[in-house]
């Protein structure tokens, strides 16, 4: 079973090798790396988090869809955790008999990943602020509640919706 999520540095060579074969002459790849700016502000690093089990399920669906739609072999990995500027966060490799299908499948997979796969990133800016990308919500460094769990929350009575 393929594992799509990792906390280790991505190895593009390994991904390429996993899709290459004598009958596939066209190999396309995409590497998404951590950029040092966003919205005109300097970014120091990114902290990625994910809904791991669904990442695995959704990535498997995306790869299966691409491999059934085109005559391609696809490999996909996403890294989470703390990433520095220039680190690769996502890698896609697609191999086919000819370049056209390799390019289109590679593009399709990265676009679907961004649209469907539950991964989030917090940008740490040079001015000390930290923001979840896409949420528009700012916070202070390390103000997140990751890891905090509430196993039981008795809200039924408070809501007036008695269920027993």
């Amino acid at each position: 079973m393929t594992v799509y999520l990792t906390e280790s540095p991505l190895d593009l060579g390994e991904l390429l090798a996993s899709v290459q074969s004598p009958e596939r002459g066209g190999v396309a790849c995409f590497l998404g790396t951590v950029r040092n700016h966003h919205g005109g502000r300097e970014v120091l690093r990114l902290d990625y988090s994910a809904y791991g089990p669904m990442v695995e399920a959704e990535c498997a669906r995306i790869v299966a869809e691409a491999e059934s739609r085109w005559q391609v072999a696809v490999a996909l990995r996403h890294r989470i955790g703390r990433l520095e500027i220039g680190d690769a966060a996502v890698a896609v490799a697609a191999a086919s008999a000819h370049r056209d299908e390799a390019f289109v499948a590679c593009r399709h997979v990265i676009e679907e990943l961004k649209r469907r796969v539950p991964i989030w990133k917090r940008e740490v800016f040079a001015d000390g602020t930290v923001e979840w990308v896409g949420s528009g919500a700012a916070g202070q460094p390390d103000s997140g509640t990751a890891g905090q769990r509430v196993s039981e929350l008795h809200v039924t009575g408070a809501l007036g919706g008695t269920t027993r």
Partner: protein, 88 residues
Amino acid sequence: MPSTTTPTLTVHVLLFASYADTLGFDSVELSLEAPAKVGDVLDRLRVLPGGERLPPKPLCALNLTHVGPDMPISSGDELAILPPLAGG
């Protein structure tokens, strides 16, 4: 024998990223009257402190699959409320 109690179901709710920050927790068990839909769980979350900041139609995933607010839920389901995705 017919039961005289209202049937209930339990759903395991997961919050992530900015939504976990907003509500102050990332996991909760909720009991609801059966039958229930995804939207009913969202209604329950909205009355919690910070829950009013959830958007009208957040992304939701039921048992690892994207679903809409009208999807029925069963007892034991895992429902994840997903902030705007930012992979890549």
